[in-house]
Symmetry: C2
DNA sequence: ACCGGGTAAGCGAACGGTCCTTCGTTTTGG
DNA sequence: CCAAAACGAAGGACCGTTCGCTTACCCGGT
């Protein structure tokens, strides 16, 4: 019982210390092939309502091949969620690399433009996957961890935009950056969701509406002066 | 072949025109009992990942009893989505019945308060069901119809708030009510989503942030005067 | 330049389990 | 007494996953 026989199933080097049989790029390409096909099916039908048979058929591979690259359906789902929300975060990060960093309304406008762009590009609308990921995050702890970490990072970008604005004096210094960033993120997520559920929202008109002063101008919030 | 024999399965009056065997209120109560139990399970685990066996056990009834009240799982899902988003719409409608109708930031603040309230009240967080309903709407046409109609109505309430503000002169007359209402709805939906995914957001601080002027005060949008 | 050895990549039928739903039966209550 | 209400075992389809097998490829030796 339980000798020191190594469990070699995953560790190729214990078996054979030569170079891989096929180039690493080929393996990555196959993995992407599976992820792309699965993303399309999950975008159309949701994670749980889509069967692996559907994913496998769409990938053009066999069940055995798919399960060589992903140990389970849950692992595949986690990989897809990580890719989709991770790419979103990467796109939003460029907001901070602009010089000068835009003001909050400008940052949201740029982010909304990115959402509209990614929704229309390619055969699969990744914003649909994002909505499915929200639902999945509420029931799958691993997915929730990924979504929590990534969306918190995105909100952190907006916090930084607010801080820069406060340094520049265009935003009241006593405003709460964390919650102001939350309202900015809401504007982006709300655009994404309304576009999917209620039909096309015009990004230009939507972002223009963000700049409309909607508090009564008489009483509240003297912005720059009168600190 | 196809005689005129009536298909009596659902029409009780063709069978028996007397009084019902049990009071109508009892039937409605049983229906609610099923919906309540199913709502709890769907809130915890999503629509598609939750089995009918789970719903049936939670309801305290048998499979046959549940299927007497709902023809299928999809019909049960549709009934739950209709109830949850319908109740949300009913709550938001009172915004218009206040006198005077609040300004946009005030309307959003009230709506956010309602979301936070309904999320904390009762054993089931209905905002979780709302997120699941968004995902379901993307794959189930009947659910999509319900969600589209109801959320469009909610947005219509915000449009009305904007119109009243424009009449009162507190909102620029050339602002687009439709898209301004969309940003208001985004603020509410974004609060709901961030509260669930990223942890507790403080409703008071969030709504306070909504009133922070976030456009550069120097160049853009001279609000009331000097139009 | 060619070839055979051996391993990883890929295949797909089959498996146990779970799914939604049905229906013959039992219980209930007016 | 009898129809409606409720029951719950069973049906048949489909689920995610496995595993014995075939195919294809790289490598070392000739």
């Amino acid at each position: 019982m339980a000798t020191s026989r190594p469990t070699v199933k995953n560790d190729r080097s214990l078996y054979y210390d030569g170079v891989p049989r096929v180039p690493e790029s080929h393996l990555a390409a196959r993995r992407d092939q599976i992820i792309d096909a699965a993303t399309a099916r999950f975008a159309a039908n949701g994670f749980q309502a889509t069967g692996m048979a559907d994913v496998i058929a769409a990938s053009g591979l066999s069940a055995g091949a798919v399960y060589r690259y992903f140990r389970s359906k849950d692992e595949l789902i986690a990989a897809i969620v990580e890719r989709v929300v991770g790419e979103a975060a990467a796109r939003f990060e460029v907001l901070l690399q602009q010089d000068p960093v835009p003001d909050p309304a400008g940052a949201v406008a740029t982010a909304v433009g990115m959402v509209a762009d990614v929704a229309g590009r390619g055969p699969v609308d990744l914003t649909r996957v994002a909505v499915q990921a929200w639902g999945e995050a509420l029931r799958n702890p691993e997915v929730h961890t990924v979504v929590d970490r990534t969306y918190r990072a995105i909100r952190g970008f907006f916090v930084e935009v607010v801080r820069r604005g406060q340094e520049a004096g265009t935003i009241p210094a006593d405003a709460d950056p964390q919650h102001l960033a939350a309202t900015m993120l809401s504007a982006v997520l709300g655009f994404l969701l309304q576009r999917l559920l209620l039909g096309d929202l015009d990004p230009a008109a939507y972002t223009a509406a963000l700049r409309v002063p909607w508090v009564a101008p008489s009483s509240a919030a003297t912005p720059g002066s009168a600190g």
